[in-house]
């Protein structure tokens, strides 16, 4: 059976970290099995944790009054779910729901923030990796906003 620090290397966000750093991070994490349809996070609620998907899919949803929740992105194995634990005011900006049964690694965000404060090398490394993840998702969101599929001609 693989330990959490070993499992972390399956994710591009954590792959390549030093074994000691992985072990340090894993100290703030545990495995969790979550049933389909579970709300992992709700908009406005305290963001004190985040997840790494090992198996399954998590849908990020936007609640629009008077409408069905709008799924704006699905996250897959290897993806990190949740950034709001990193920045004040530490409140979720979106809703997150498991689409099927999921195997997740859940991290205590407060614990990890404290470790990053205590070890700035680790903190810098983690922030760099999360920033790369945020930029990738930002670029994808820009493409989504461009609504490219809605305005193409027929002559492709």
């Amino acid at each position: 059976m693989r330990t959490i620090d070993e499992l972390l290397t399956d994710s591009p966000t954590f792959a390549g970290l030093e074994p000691a750093q992985l072990e340090f991070i894993a100290g703030c994490a545990r495995n969790e099995h979550v049933a389909a349809g579970t709300m992992l996070m709700r908009e406005g609620e305290p963001a004190d944790r985040f997840w790494l998907i090992r198996r399954g899919v998590v849908a990020l949803e936007l609640y629009v009054p008077g409408r069905e929740p709008l799924v704006i992105e699905t996250l897959e194995p290897g993806d990190v779910v949740g950034w709001s634990w990193l920045f004040a005011p530490y409140r979720w900006a979106l809703e997150g729901r498991t689409v099927g049964d999921c195997h997740l690694i859940v991290f205590d965000g407060v614990c990890l923030r404290q470790k990053c404060e205590a070890d700035h090398d680790l903190g810098y490394e983690l922030m760099s990796r999360f920033a790369a993840d945020v930029i990738g998702r930002l670029q994808a969101t820009r493409l989504q906003l461009a609504d490219v599929h809605g305005n193409v001609s027929a002559t492709a």
Partner: protein
């Protein structure tokens, strides 16, 4: 080049504004073509437009086009009913390199109405499945009800094509991926030797190449089908010029480095 008369023999309504028409030549001749080629198609006096062929290259008895109604000419084509005669010139253009990638993994990346021009390539690849390594389709649409060929996607999957579909946005009842096609690239775990064939909105293809590059796949392994204002279809009028190339004559399929320098020039 003189247009030939083709009769609409079958028509299918694919999505709200997309129709597939199956045509047969009045002359009774077969319509031989290569995957990725297009015809200049017209209904009545509404004007000619370039439309990629979406049929099976190994079934040349019928010419198949899948058309999105976006303007006068395409609306007239989509309104054509069985029995009506359309004018056809072609086939034209450089095809997808499906016969030149034996042994390689092949990824097809289609966005929206970009799937029909790739359908002949998919059918050819599956007809010769044993020649290739891993076959993968990444297909993105605006919403679940705008996805094309959904029944065929399942069939292709059973025949050895890995199919990953994503939509820009969806309700809770959609069980598939949500997000842009570039987000699927990371999860596709591609071999650096993969050959990519892509058709879709130009912006999507630009982001796709960036995502592939981030995964260590050279842009020279990416083929794209380009689109500009084609009118003559035979390299005479110059309307479809992009830098030093004429799309109707030299394309529409190009290796990405052949066209990418010109795509950043706004005046073009």
């Amino acid at each position: 080049m003189v247009p030939a008369s083709f009769e609409v023999v079958e028509k299918r309504h694919d999505t709200a504004d997309v129709w597939t028409l199956e045509l047969e030549a009045d002359s009774g001749e077969r319509f031989e073509f290569q995957p990725g080629q297009f015809t200049m198609l017209a209904a009545g006096g509404a004007g000619e437009v370039p439309i990629s062929i979406s049929g099976d290259p190994d079934q040349p008895a019928r010419l198949v086009h899948t058309v999105k109604a976006v303007g006068l000419a395409t609306e007239a084509i989509c309104a054509a009913e069985p029995g009506q005669v359309l004018s056809v010139r072609g086939p034209f253009g450089r095809p997808w390199p499906v016969d030149q990638v034996d042994g390689a993994d092949v990824m097809i990346a289609a966005g929206g109405i970009g799937l029909p021009p790739l359908r002949p390539a998919i059918l050819r690849l599956l007809a010769r499945r044993e020649r290739y390594g891993r076959l993968l389709l990444l297909y993105s649409g605006r919403s679940p009800d705008e996805l094309l060929f959904t029944d065929e996607l399942r069939e292709w999957s059973q025949r050895g094509l890995e199919v990953m579909v994503t939509v820009d946005a969806a309700g809770e009842d959609w069980g598939g991926h949500v997000g842009v096609v570039t987000r699927l690239v990371r999860h596709a775990k591609l071999d650096p030797g993969v050959v990519v064939m892509s058709c879709g909105p130009e912006l999507m293809m630009r982001f796709l190449v960036a995502a592939l590059t981030a995964e260590g796949i050279g842009s020279d392994r990416v083929y794209v089908s380009m689109e500009r204002n084609m009118q003559c279809g035979i390299g005479r009028c110059g309307h479809c010029q992009l830098g030093p190339t004429l799309l109707c004559r030299d394309g529409p399929v190009y290796r990405w480095p052949e066209v990418s320098p010109w795509l950043a020039i706004r005046e073009l």
